[in-house]
Each structure stands twice: as C-alpha cells, then as structure tokens.
Symmetry: C2
Subunit: 197 residues, 2 copies
DNA sequence: TGCATAATTTGACTTGCGTCAAACTCCTTT
DNA sequence: AAAGGAGTTTGACGCAAGTCAAATTATGCA
C-alpha cells in the first residue's frame, strides 16, 4: 500500500471521526479538497499574527503550540500528536490573527484543507458545521484540562497530574517544553522528577 | 412594553447573534421552544455531575461557574453576565456529566431551550449547528484568556491584567470569588489592591 | 572515536505568597 | 440604634519555588 493510500485512509477516518456517517456524494466533493504536507523538525506550521488559511490534522509526528507573553517569555499551550487536529481553531473560525504558533517537534505529516475550500463546501453541506463544533469542543475540553492542571498550586502535584492525564507527553517531549507547559522553572521540574521536592 | 415582550426581544437578539440572518420559518419553529426562568441569589442553575438538559442565556444578572478539586477546594472558572451564555457547554454538546456548577450571584433572568428541543430543531435546520460552534468558540476564547491570565506568575500582574480585560468583574463580584478566579489567596488579593505587594 | 553543543541536574541564595490569627469595616435585620 | 455576621484588611512567620551559576550527562556530527 502506498503512502498516499495510507494518507487518504487517514483523511477519511478524520472525516468520519468528526462528522459521523458520511454520504457518498459528500465524500466525493470533500476528498478532492484535501491535501497533504510534510514538515521537518523545527518547521513552523502556523505563525502567530497570521490568519490561518487552513486546518491541519496530524497523521504522524508531534506538534507544539505556544505564544509569547508581554515580557517575551515563550509559553507552551499544548502538544498535539497523531490523529489530532493542530491549528489555531479560534482564529480559524473567527477569522482573526492567531495568538499562537504551531511548530513541528519531530518530522510531521498532516492532512489539511484550506479555509476557503472548506467554507465553500459548507455552503453545499451545512451539516458539516458539526465537524467544527466537534473540533472546538475537543479543544475546549483539552484547554479546560490544562487550566485545571495549572490551578494546582504545588509543582509536584502538577507534574503528577500530567503523568496521569497525558503520560505520552513525558516520553516524547523535551523537559524544557514540559516545564513551560506546566508553568514552572526547568530546574523545578528537574527536581520534582528526581523526587527532591 | 411588558417584561415578556422584552424577554422575547432578548431571545431574538441571541438567536441572530449566534446564527446571523434568520428566516421567518426558522424563527417560527424556534421561538415556541424558548422558555424563560428566574433565579434568586445563591440558586444553582446547573449542578456538577448532572448532564445539562438545557442551554441558558443570561438576560439580566450575574452568574459564577466553579468546580471542586480533589482536595475539595472550590475553584472559580468564570463569571457570566448579561447577553452571555451560561451553561456547561462541553457537557451539553458531548452529553457527559458536567464538572462545573453554575450559581446566581445576583437575581438572574435567563432564556433557555431544552437540549431535546434544540437538537430536534437541528434536524430540520442543520445550519443552526453554526450556533453551537459560535457559543463554543466564544467559550474557547474566554477559556484561553483565563489560561493566559493564570500563567502570569506575579499576583500583582495577574490582577492588573484582569482589570484590563474584564474591569466589570471587579465592581460586581465579591473579593473571595475574584481571588479564587485568579488562583490566589484572598489575603494576597487584598494586599495587592492595597498596593502592598 | 572524540569533540562541541545541547539538555539536564545540582547547589546556594532570595523572595513572593500561602497559612494562621486577629482586628476592623460595612451591611443587614430586629 | 444595637447586635450579629459577612466581607475585608493587617500582621507575623515559614516554605515552595524562582533565579543565577556551575557541574554533569546526553547527543549529534565531523
């Protein structure tokens, strides 16, 4: 089976994941609009300040999203892995410049659809709005989890909770970014892991 | 003009806010599904652990949402005022028990629609999915703002940012809840306000 | 294989903020 | 007007975690 066949399969899975049962005629119109892209480690997939022109979904690889606060400090907002969307959702929907950037932490392959194509498609099949709602609510839940995580005061407990909720992060992501995600100093996280705190 | 007329007007404004241009026939079918309710200060509007059976939108008053963490500590998630939705969105969409409760901080009047009625209505007019996406993306942006707020390390700066983003909170909400929302001790917030920190 | 650079760990020092406790102010109710 | 209670302020003290700095361990690349 070729890589493209595989990818097409992934695209179809994404569609049914977010829309449920899809009609033949819907699929016929939607599939030609779908594209594929590859990124190297360190590549920017979306840049803050720009209005996202597409919605990307990860096939393989790991992506990190982050923003810069007023002091210029980089704040990691989230990690995105296989079978998850990775794009500035709010900005995509509201058509405003994104506050967050998305960068590949490893070689990354994505499926993507342009904003223009997608909204044009929506005019024919408005029920696909449900897909947007699904993506948004997934992000909402993830964001809510992160917020809850951040509200735990002790660094030790915060890290413990992360292990519980997203253990894969700890194996795939460099310490610096985990610390940034958890809102603690790199050194503190190191001490927590060594059981010294 | 009677109170009910006023309320009906508010309901219509809500609908066009979230859906855009609404057709006559759409409105005719939707309006009869809409109800009104009043709450006293302290009344629970939604309770955590329950699957929300309705979506409420505030006409007048102020609502606070919060959850209890594993240590039993109450954490304030958000404040909701006039012309804003106030219900456990994620749970409403995903049909799972809510983690947060919603309580009236003042006398509150709301428009609401039952989950059942709304989803039944959606079968006839699927394009109204866009309303869900709108509500979700509003919540998403609000949640994102809160998360950003919480990531500011200094209490002083955190409070300053709140004043900048949502000044009305400071005038309408008791100190205890603001402190809880900002993730700091009541005493710390008091000192910050007195300029002692 | 070995060097260079990055990533992580450890140490020493400082401080913001939480906790506990008590005082003070402002409503509400009788 | 007085009493009671909620909401807010002030004080004293201890500690978790931030910062700066240096050592140690990994990792990629020639």
């Amino acid at each position: 089976m070729s890589g493209t066949d595989n990818h097409l399969q992934t695209a179809i899975e994404y569609i049914s994941k977010y829309i449920g049962n899809v009609q033949e005629e819907e699929l016929e119109l939607l599939l030609p609009l779908v594209r594929f892209a590859n990124y190297q480690k360190g590549d920017l997939i979306y840049k803050y300040g720009e209005i996202p022109k597409s919605a990307s979904f990860i096939i393989t690889g790991a992506v990190r999203s982050y923003y810069f606060d007023e002091d210029g400090k980089e704040n990691t907002v989230g990690f995105h892995f296989e079978n998850e969307p990775a794009f500035p959702y709010g900005s995509f929907v509201e058509l405003v410049p994104a506050a967050t950037s998305f960068v590949a932490m490893e070689p990354v392959a994505v499926v993507w659809i342009s904003r223009h194509d997608f909204y044009h498609f929506l005019e024919t099949f408005p029920r696909f709005e449900i897909g947007i709602a699904k993506v948004l609510s997934e992000y909402l839940i993830k964001g809510g989890q992160h917020l809850k995580l951040m509200r735990i005061d002790s660094s030790r407990e915060r890290y413990k909770k992360l292990l519980e909720l997203q253990p894969e992060i700890v194996t795939r992501v460099p310490l610096t970014y985990i610390a940034s995600y958890l809102g603690m100093a790199l050194e503190t996280l190191s001490r927590v892991r060594a059981g010294k705190l």
